[in-house]
């Protein structure tokens, strides 16, 4: 069963983090990624760029991309990183989410990913 884990944050939050704490923070996250890549349960871990780098894209009348700045979010926090898991069951996904480095301070958002299976109803 595949799951998506999301971590939220914002500039303010990252700025409040002391510079000297970053190496350890990165090491902790790397250790988590390595641990679950090795069990064959973490499919991928991805960090997103800054909010100001995000764009809104539409298809313009000429069929070309019409790109604008944004999204200007209502929410204070935006997605900072996401992780794809493939695990035996939901319970296991909970365990892994709870093992994220800062899950004791901030909740990890966990979403099931829809699949294509067609069991008999």
């Amino acid at each position: 069963m595949k799951y998506l884990m999301l971590i939220y944050g914002n500039e303010e939050k990252w700025a409040s983090f002391p510079a000297e704490a970053w190496p350890e923070a990165i090491a902790r996250q790397d250790a988590f990624n390595k641990k679950y890549e090795e069990t064959g349960e973490l499919i991928g871990a991805y960090g997103l760029g800054a909010e100001m780098q995000a764009r809104l894209v539409r298809r313009g009348q000429d069929g070309l991309p019409a790109v604008t700045d944004g999204p200007y979010q209502e929410t204070k926090e935006y997605i900072a990183s996401f992780y794809l898991l493939d695990v035996e069951n939901e319970e296991r996904a909970h365990q892994i989410a709870a093992d994220m480095p800062w899950a004791d301070e901030e909740p990890v958002e966990l979403w099931p990913i829809l699949h294509d299976s067609k069991n008999d109803l």
Binding site: M1, G40, I43, D86, V87, E88, D116, K118, L121
Partner: protein, 467 residues
Amino acid sequence: MTKTLRDADEGLLREFAPQVLAALVRRYGTAQFHLCEDATQEALLAAAVAWPAGGLPDNPRGWLVTVASRKLTDQVRSEQARREREDRIAFATPQSELLAGPADESTAGAKDADDSLALLFGCCHPAVSVPSQIALTLRAIGGLSTAQIAAAFGVPEATMAQRISRAKQTLRDANVDFSLHGPVAERLPAVLHVLYLVFNEGYTASAGDAVTVPALSGEAIRLTRWLYRLLPGEPEVAGLLALMLLIDARRPARTQPDGSLVPLAEQDRSRWDRSRIDEGTVLITSALASGQVGPYQLQAAIAAVHDEAATMDDTDWKQILGLYDLLELAAPNPFTTLNRAVAVGMVQGPRAGLELLGTLAEDKRLAKHHRLFAAQGHLLELAGEQKRAAEAYAQAARLSTSIPERRYLAAQATRLREALSEEKRQPFAVNKVLTLSPTEMIPPVRMSARMPPRWMRSLMMPGRVSC
């Protein structure tokens, strides 16, 4: 791009996987299982390139064992060169043995069978997580490549490679010995469970290119057939094989060309695979006669009763209910109770089924499971409670993570809601229809006989409904 084997040849090639692995493990010891497994895989890949070009060797098994031994020796030598200081077991294979046919060729048959079985038990060892048991079984016994297994499960090859190598490491650390000791019956359930899960995965996954995305249900049937040949006297093995055949028989009828789901009640039964049904029925009949009835045999018997019915109306629900009663005794499980509740609904009336479902709502495994709500929706509709049925279907759709199931369940909710708003416009006519079959008042025995029209309608897709 290397030339790949045609499907039939690839199947033949993979038949050799457990035999070659068994021969290697016999020669180099079970402690070298991980190396033997890698070497077997490499030999299979080499054969997939060499055989289509140069033709099938006279002794394919001997060819594979020789090539695998050479690969293994190379691997050990390079590892030794790297780790000179480590005191590793040296096992140089005499060159003569690599060039000649394998030494154990003549006595290979019976020993291969036992050893292959032992390898299968090893792959399904409880020290390894179930997804890893599945991956390892498909590679070591099924002879599928890591890339194929990864494609079948929709994960990157690197993730699957990691899972397999971790599983082999775990088996090594746990000192799992790949020999047949102790009663087979005790170790069999884990193996059957893995094969059953492979079948389900394949039964459900969308069809892809057969070469790159192997059909897992076909692979599960192939491996279970192989296991049945090795253990013909185990009725649960026969039961599992029968179950797979009887369910797989419906494959041609269970999806529409656009990939959407066709429920059992609506399937065009003329498209079911008769030969699979016949084979499964023969298997389950003789397995049941052995007297050692188990969960797989009972599920196969239920599937057989469904497959025997020429139409949904002809389904012998009383017999199905009797089988679910036995299944609940043999292997108590909330999902069995759920299915039994539907059968109760068909035999004794929807109210009786709903009552039984009510007792399940407290079970943690089921309280938020889409199947509970789907069954409720079905029985509520039969009971004439269209509004509550629509709510139950909508809730089931929200809780399901399968896209086709979700679409189907949401369509059921929509259909019922549309029927309800239609009813408001023509209250008289529809009310009259509804009061025509107050299901609660029909004597239990006659239920299935009276049920057909409404039952059929309840499982119809929207667009084809005329309520």
